[in-house]
């Protein structure tokens, strides 16, 4: 029953009581006159009691309404207080409500505490996430993190570059919509489906990046889901790391090729030495002239072996940065004159003339004198070797003050070099096949020049040539 209909109910009760009493009183009224006064008094008393009762109910109702309103207001304000217990009529109800208030207040306090704890945990988790993201983004390897639905959660710039997608993808985009590399998508999916929480899978994968093949070591591992791992093996996601091995593989291949070349180049003179020594031991050289020829071949092949080893070691030391470089301001002209003095007797045996165009040693360059001397000697020696008898060499230095550089040039009128061979000329162990017969060589001399000029002195080597007409070799170095 609603509280509002309560007074009507009381009035109806009183009317019914009054009607019933009046009916009984009518019988007594007529039969007993003395009782008339008593009946009137009784009716009056009853009416007074009814009014009093009605007043009491109204007050009680008002108190309850006030208490309820206060409670509602307090709940709305978030701070519920106990109801003051004054009226004895509502004490049990008030006590019950107060118990409920106490209980609710305790629960609210607990909830507030838990909320604050969660708030702190969220902040810590957020900070940790930012930290992890910063680490992942700073890694040079490509890193992709996906969730249990194969959606991309996190990816760094390296991943975007390697797999050619934009990092501004909306979070949790399906990975197959982000990556065009189907192989990587399959690897991530397979890893997640395997559910191998503690396992790792490493796969080598080659893909074209901007039209160039690059090889990656792809390492995949599952992220354990602490909340779910108890009941299922399903991982929370997959971490995919792609390490670019292209350069490492190239270096490994270069090392392999270098060792293979070195081995071949060392075996060739060694083969001559061993064969001729055995022939001498076995007495196969029957006359003194043949024996002398054999001795000379053994000597020249031993020298060739020595030069090969020296050149290989020099290049290797320069490449690895182990060589001690002693740079000081020197004149290229002075070093050039020193080298000409050494090469002139060799040129004379072939009746090759040398025209010197070396200006006074005024300009200086910062260089290692011995290395520069070696580079110049190699270039001059090559020109003498590949220039026929009676040829001509022009050796010159040119200073370009505006470009702040000095240029060394050796021009010959020798056999020249086919155009197709020019790009490979400064490579290791490269020899011009058509000129092979003209002179012996290690195939390392020009490579050493390039290492000395470009690797050590930040200069530039150059060559121009025309088959049958001659070549110009040289280099330029910055002036001090």
């Amino acid at each position: 029953m609603k509280v509002r209909s309560f007074p009507i109910f009381i009035v109806c009760l009183l009317m019914a009581g009054l009607a019933s009493t009046a009916s009984s009183a009518g019988v007594v009224w007529r039969s007993h006159p003395d009782a008339q006064a008593m009946i009137v008094a009784g009716v009056v008393l009853f009416m007074l009691a009814a009014v009093a009762g009605l007043l009491a109910v109204t007050v009680l109702r008002s108190n309850c309404r006030d208490a309820a309103k206060r409670l509602v207001d307090q709940i709305a304000d978030g701070a519920v207080e106990r109801i003051p217990v004054k009226q004895s009529e509502i004490r049990p109800l008030a006590n019950a409500i107060n118990d409920l208030v106490d209980y609710s207040n305790q629960k609210v306090a607990d909830a507030n505490l838990r909320f604050k704890e969660l708030e702190i945990q969220l902040k810590v988790a957020h900070a940790e996430r930012q930290h992890a993201e910063a680490i992942i983004k700073s890694i040079s390897d490509a890193v992709l993190v996906t969730d249990r639905f194969d959606e991309l959660v996190l990816a760094n710039e390296s991943a975007a570059k390697a797999l050619q997608f934009k990092t501004e993808q909306p979070r949790r985009t399906p990975v197959d919509q982000v990556l065009s590399d189907a192989k990587v998508v399959d690897l991530i999916r397979e890893m997640r489906q395997s559910g191998s929480i503690n396992g790792r899978r490493v796969v080598e994968h080659t893909t074209a990046v901007s039209g160039v093949d690059r090889t990656y070591k792809v390492t995949l591992s599952c992220v354990a889901d602490e909340a779910r791992s108890a009941e299922s093996n399903e991982p929370a996601g997959v971490v995919c790391v792609l390490h670019d091995m292209t350069r490492e593989k190239e270096i490994a291949q270069m090392k392999n090729d270098f060792v293979s070349h070195v081995s071949h180049e060392l075996r060739t003179p060694l083969a001559s030495i061993r064969a001729y020594v055995e022939m001498l031991v076995d007495g196969e050289a029957t006359d003194e002239k043949t024996r002398r020829d054999f001795y000379e071949i053994i000597q020249s092949e031993s020298n060739r072996l020595g030069r090969l080893i020296d050149n290989i070691l020099s290049i290797s030391r320069i490449e690895s940065g182990l060589v001690k470089v002693n740079k000081q301001p020197i004149s290229l002209s002075v070093v050039m004159k020193d080298a000409i003095e050494v090469i002139a007797p060799q040129a004379k045996t072939k009746n090759i003339s040398i025209e010197e165009r070396v200006p006074p040693a005024f300009y200086q360059t910062l260089a290692d004198r011995d290395m520069l001397y070696q580079a110049l000697l190699n270039l001059m020696s090559n020109s003498v070797k590949y220039t026929p008898e009676g040829g001509r060499l022009i050796i010159e230095t040119v200073v370009d003050e505006s470009a702040k550089k000095v240029v060394a040039k050796i021009t010959d009128n020798g056999v020249g070099i086919p155009a197709k061979d020019l790009p490979m000329l400064f490579g290791k162990f490269f020899r011009v096949e058509s000129n092979n017969k003209m002179a012996s060589g290690t195939g390392l001399g020009l490579s050493l020049v390039k290492h000395i000029v470009e690797g050590v002195h930040q200069g530039r080597v150059f060559v121009t040539s025309e088959e049958g007409k001659g070549s110009t070799f040289g280099f330029e170095l910055p002036l001090v």
Binding site: S263, T268, L270, A275, M279, E284
Partner: protein
Amino acid sequence: MSQRTILVADDESHILNVVSLKLRNAGFKVLTANNGQEAYDIATAEHPDLLITDFHMPQLSGIELCKKLKESAATAGIPAIMLTARGYNLEPGDTEQSGINQLISKPFSPRQLLTAVNDVLGIAA
């Protein structure tokens, strides 16, 4: 028995000379070539009893030379010994397909080479 003819092909003149001398001293007739193409031309013209070839040569490598000789019925039967400083770079199939009977690594012993020549030609030592 008539004098056997051996064709030696190598772009390294010292090796060519020492092998030639060893074989001549052993009683063979020796033909020499400085590159693969020259060796092929001599082989097709002279039909030697044996070819001794270097692996790495200008114009035509030792393997290419042997394969080319196998293509013609007139030269297919010429046995071959290959001298190489790069033996480890050869695939097992290369020597079989090219009909190379023996592979000798540089540096080599002329005595060992002569033994191999006698083996291939079926000459008792």
